[in-house]
């Protein structure tokens, strides 16, 4: 069985201080893939850290081949700041300051750049450049279902996406990307393979999503021969999300949207099934909201553009046209 090695990557920041990022390495002693799993490039997207902790246990118990490179806290400064990126202020998103410090656009990093570029560089030199495969764990807002972000390269990246076993898969075509870029693009640019995952819910740890993540990462490790056994694929997984197959349910009036109890993201709904109701603000009448088509709940709950930074945008008060749900057919 492999030994669990604790290491630290040290980055020298612009003020001369040093940042130590802990990570695990598990080498089987047998040839095989170098699988990198990292989480929390964005400081508010932390569910993957628990996925990695549990996957580490899987590898420690039964890894057969290759080496696992596991980084649960890729961007410690942003985690400590408890926001997507360092320096962000209240409900700030999409600003130049955000773009400059968004770690997942900075790879392979820059030892003379800003603090996040320096951190990415240190991680790249010690870890990322050794990876033959990468799984990059993120989270998006709690109104969007967990999904695999897969690349169709006709080879191993495609197979990683196929075995992840999430309900939804978002495919993109393989295309050359100029650095600085996302971490999976950097690995793929030199012949490696990669995928990303988005778990539902930032600023939180949700057992259901963690279990989905552990299964996905374990499945990839099995597909690569690092762990024994076949990938476990639950029924109705890998549903392709496209504009053509997605139907949006919007609020018809102003009021408070109350979701149907026991209905949650990824659930199968039938045409005509109740999704909830709106208590109208003008006359307190009840507007029933039903599924216009059958399919799978891809998005659910009243929200506005920035629920990943603003509690106000998570408020169930809806205005006409606000999205209440999206259903993927097919």
């Amino acid at each position: 069985m492999p030994e669990v090695e604790l290491h630290h990557v040290t980055a020298t920041l612009s003020d001369g201080s040093q940042l130590a990022t802990p990570w695990w390495r598990l080498g089987s002693g047998a040839d095989g893939p170098d699988l990198l799993v990292l989480a929390a490039q964005h400081g508010n997207e932390v569910q993957g850290a628990e996925v990695i902790r549990r996957f580490m246990g899987e590898c420690a118990d039964r890894q057969l081949r290759g080496t696992a490179w596991l980084v649960p806290f890729a961007n410690l400064p942003a985690i400590r700041h408890r926001r997507n990126s360092i320096l962000l202020g209240p409900e700030e998103k999409g600003t130049e300051r955000h773009r400059a410090h968004n770690m997942n656009g900075q790879w392979p990093g820059d030892p003379a750049g800003n603090d996040i570029q320096r951190l990415a560089h240190a991680l790249h030199e010690d870890i990322v450049r050794h990876a033959s495969h990468v799984i990059d764990l993120h989270c998006w807002n709690k109104f969007w279902a967990t999904a695999t972000l897969a690349t169709d390269d006709g080879a191993e990246s495609r197979r990683m996406g196929e075995v992840a076993g999430t309900r939804f898969t978002w495919w993109r075509a393989a295309a050359p990307v100029e650095p600085p870029a996302q971490v999976r693009d950097v690995v793929m640019a030199r012949g490696g393979s990669g995928m990303a995952m988005e778990f539902a819910g930032q600023y939180a740890m949700v057992e259901r999503e963690v279990l989905t993540g552990v299964r996905a990462v374990t499945n990839v490790a099995k597909m690569l021969g690092m762990l024994a056994g076949e990938p476990e694929l639950p029924p109705d997984t890998g549903i392709d999300v496209t504009e053509d197959t997605t139907v949006v349910v919007a609020a018809p009036c102003s009021g408070l949207f109350v979701q149907t109890p026991d209905l949650q993201l990824e659930d199968c709904v039938e045409a005509g099934q109740s999704l909830g109701h709106i208590i109208r603000e003008d006359d307190l009448a009840i507007e029933e909201i039903v599924a216009p088509v059958g399919g799978w709940l891809w998005r659910f709950g009243s929200h506005r553009p920035d629920p990943d930074v603003s509690l106000g945008d998570q408020h169930p008060y809806s205005q006409p046209g606000d999205p209440l749900a999206s259903i993927v057919t097919g």
């Binding site: 604790l6 130590a20 802990p22 990570w23 695990w24 400081g43 508010n44 932390v46 850290a49 628990e50 902790r53 649960p72 806290f73 410690l76 985690i79 400590r80 700041h81 408890r82 926001r83 209240p90 409900e91 930032q202 600023y203 939180a204 740890m205 057992e207 963690v210 102003s254 408070l256 109350v258 979701q259 109890p261 026991d262 208590i279 603000e281 003008d282 006359d283 307190l284 009840i286 930074v309 603003s310 509690l311 106000g312 945008d313 998570q314 408020h315 169930p316 008060y317």
Partner: protein
Amino acid sequence: MALEATLDYAIATLTDGSQVRTPFWHMDSGRAGESFMVLAAQHGNEVQGCEVIRRFREVCAQGLRAGEVFLVPFANLPAVRHRRSHISLGPEQPYGDDEGHNMNRTWPGDPEGNDTARVSHSLHEAVARHCSRCLDFHSWSRFTATATLARSDNEHSTAMARASAIRFINWRPGGGNPGGGTTIGAHFNNDPARGAITIELAPQWVIRPKEVAEGLCAATNCAKLFGMLDGEPEPLDGPYVEFGLDAEADEARLHKLEAPCAGLFMEAGLQTSDRVDEGQFLGHLIREDDLATVEFHAPVTGYLWNYGCFREHSDVGLPGQHPWADAGDLLASVREPQE
């Protein structure tokens, strides 16, 4: 035959001359009895009570046999539309920065005051002044358990709290608010002939089935207590956990778990208000320095009063809800019931 609810409006004229029309339902049994006001969303981000009121209306429609009910699901419509606690608040601004717009400090309102005081005045004139009992639904952060806030010096408030079937009762002494202003609860409870309680349904910004069911049970129980509905109040499963009257005794029965180091806290699938046994697993923390796993267990048998890693202003900003703990951050607290 179901009793019809009449839709009516409290109309406030704001400082700019525009009007806010706050809708409410009125149901009159036609028989003598209490006049019961139930309101929600005085704070625009505390909306679970709105759905409670919708369902309570259905209960009353089927069974109101004495008195009358006034149901106000959106007490502070401007703040609901603003999607924050008060209309004056900006991004992540705490409740305390109210600039006089905390509705629950404005009762009985002021027709010449700021816009929030004008709305509360309109509600007072149209509803509150006609009522003898009041149930005021609020919400606080998800990290603190649902609780009843009641006045120990008002017999009606005391009886309502003990009928609420809400696990935690936080007794409040009489007198003014430390921050000034008058809550609607104080407005009622300062009159011995009237009575009120507040119920904080955890959390804000969402509507959850469990809390809605608890709120509906509390409203229904209060109406039964008043003889407005048939039957006896549904009892709480287990003991009430009461605090607020004896600081020393409260402290002795409150057991806190704090993070011994920085790291990421993963809850164990429990919820606030859950009963836990001494030694029960409450979660673990992944340390930031060496990635070691640190487990946490309940120090005593009791009920979860706080649960989850949080810090100040978790009720207005997402970073306050982040599960990343610094050393000393609270992860859970357990309250023991009285003997």
